[in-house]
Symmetry: C2
Amino acid sequence: MINLKIVGFVLGILLIIEGFFMLFSVPVSLIYKEPDFWQITLACLITIGVGAALFFIYRKSSKDIGTREGYIIVSLGWVVSSFFGALPFYFTGAIPSYTDAFFETMSGFTTTGASILNDIEALSHGLLLWRSTTQWLGGMGIIVLTLVILPVLGFGGMQLFFAEVPGISSDKLHPRIKETAKRLWGIYLIFTLAEIILLTVGGMDLFDSVCHSFTTLATGGYSTKNASIAHYSSPYIQYVIIFFMYLAGVNFTLSYFALKLKFKPIFKDEEFRKYTFFILFFAVVIAVILALTTSQPLEKSFRDALFQVVSIITTTGFVTSDYLQWVPIGSVILFALMFFGGSTGSTGGGMKIARIVLLIKNSRLELKRLIHPNAVIPVRLNNQAISPQTMTNVLAFASFYVLIVMISVIIVSFMGYDLDTSFGAVVTSIGNIGPGIGDVGPVFNFSHFPSVGKWFLSFLMLIGRLELFTVLILFSRHFWKS
Amino acid sequence: MINLKIVGFVLGILLIIEGFFMLFSVPVSLIYKEPDFWQITLACLITIGVGAALFFIYRKSSKDIGTREGYIIVSLGWVVSSFFGALPFYFTGAIPSYTDAFFETMSGFTTTGASILNDIEALSHGLLLWRSTTQWLGGMGIIVLTLVILPVLGFGGMQLFFAEVPGISSDKLHPRIKETAKRLWGIYLIFTLAEIILLTVGGMDLFDSVCHSFTTLATGGYSTKNASIAHYSSPYIQYVIIFFMYLAGVNFTLSYFALKLKFKPIFKDEEFRKYTFFILFFAVVIAVILALTTSQPLEKSFRDALFQVVSIITTTGFVTSDYLQWVPIGSVILFALMFFGGSTGSTGGGMKIARIVLLIKNSRLELKRLIHPNAVIPVRLNNQAISPQTMTNVLAFASFYVLIVMISVIIVSFMGYDLDTSFGAVVTSIGNIGPGIGDVGPVFNFSHFPSVGKWFLSFLMLIGRLELFTVLILFSRHFWKS
């Protein structure tokens, strides 16, 4: 029997936390003398109220939590958070359609950054803050967040952690899960504060600095400006954001080492090295292309190239240059990078660098295996042999990813979109990036999609964010049997 | 030590055979009173001459042949055949550039059907016949052809067979390889003759019937007409071609059973059932879409849909309707089908239906495995458990395929092509289909590619035709060591 009561209990806690963070938007609204503070307050009260009700109804139930409950909590956590997180947009009338509001919020909590807003700057400050906060919360994961809370309440979170991070690196930052979560959270906070300070120093408004820092560290990409980061012509601001996007795409365990000034394990980490290599390699390639095909200064070509490569590979989705206006090879490379994603243990989406590296290595070794059919030739990562079981899982994940992309492209094109747009919308949604190609390119948005398309893409964001299996397992009849 | 002498010997035999088939174009040229008969004769003499020289030089060398020699012979076989097969086009001046002539011939021998000719109908009958013959020879495989010859010369062809057909079905049609080859060859011949007769009955010129039958059974798709099969408005002719494309995409082992009137193993074969299901399913979907979005008669919508679905999934590449003019969903489905390909043991290219079925099944079971992490849950095909080793191979093949497509798309877009065209050119080349999307769509061709692009796409055709590893293994340093 699945313990649905504990599911309700945990979701209750999640909603209370969500409502708490939503509350910050009320004073902001008041400070800026915006009339929508009471609708935001109403949304807060409903969210906290429902959360508290669930908490009190189920607080005395069994606290037995297993893997299956973990899967349900993780998936429903994102859905329920988005359901209530959409209320401020909906109640204030800033987003009149609930479908649109849900899309915008799911895009926030999954750190995607795809928007249906035609005029972002028309939003009130309260709503802009909430919009960025959804990404910040989603970024480190409501779940990782609650790893600090849940253990206090008396039960371990190991199963949850497993469900949330089914990545391939199970390196323990610290054996005790609660401590781990606290430390990761601390790093996240430090980085966010550091970026806020550096952006403010560069002349960015404090409010915008907070919002952009929230969405940078989450690799979310929501901006407070219609033109995204292109709004800020200051190279300093762009380089600061490049740096923090880059950090957000690194395994946070490594950042922890960095803050303790232990640099050796960082430079020995193969995923980190490949991640850095990919960024530099493709940034230089695109920079050369831009330098050869445009008349802009060399530094600008390099900055545009580096910004977009980092933004896309980390799945942030900020924009300083409309890459669809570049010569085709530029946008084709960026499109390919949309499959990559950040490192495991980062806030980035996509397939993750470690998987990409393993896939490439395995492909090369497959040739060696053909020559020596009887030899056992394992793939090595960080000089350690990867078990055949793990390698098969990575291969299965990749083929699942590609299959879902193909089927989804067909589904989206059923709505009348051409291949580029369908492909762009699907890949950017499942990879949690934000902008795509075609009619969902960097200067467009998702407002032109029909409702069914918005719900479908929201679903893709969800499964992409939760590494496919976590959500899809709920649709398997085996899950509910026995 | 790799026995390069036997490689030379076998290639010599291949060239003699190639020259022999080239010879048929000479009388055809004479019958139609075309002045290019002597250049074709010259090409024949050079091909046979070089072949005979190799044969006589190496005829007394060791006949030791191992797996590695097999790989070299298979890959070089295609390259060398294309090298000499291009001579008739080049000598006659019909294709003034040797790069173009090589592309056209490699496209023939790999049964791709991608062309650089802007006016196919301007070719002489001799050249048109040769162009179709390259596909016919490539179709069943010069190698399978030579499996009948080589054993007579005193050594078994098992390793060659392994290198040529590394598909996942190793079902033996008959234990003795020579008999097997002969029977497959017989079926191929019977089907070709049957199609010639049926097309002639339908009013198609005998010459065109022969050429089209050659390229249908090979799933090649070279037509003698600029408009491809759209040239023939007769529904009868189009249905006949649909039927034989369908047959060519079926495992020839099953066709052998069919000719012996044993139908039970055919209908029990899962790959055959899924292959038929995919065709019917997607044909009906597209037929409904065409019926809803065009004003043409219902039968025409169904015929167009069925023709293009069968043509693309079998990787033939004949065209009766410009699918890029359909509503986007139609061409998106066809583009997705370009990854599928025919059955294993057919002349079709692509990834093959069996692999696609295994990938889909494995993805679904991956969820079950997550729920029961300690249970061994194998994928089943034809009610037989697939070994984890085989499943890993299929996954590795698929990820290799997708990786190569991604890298190749980037390479092609470097030549200035947009995403659609790059994607279309790469997928249609590696899948051995013919037409793609974008600027290599069904009404375009590959003449606008730069030379380096033509060589690169020729290479993709080759590795796609030989199931990737067979060729790529030659580029591995492990192959040449020890």
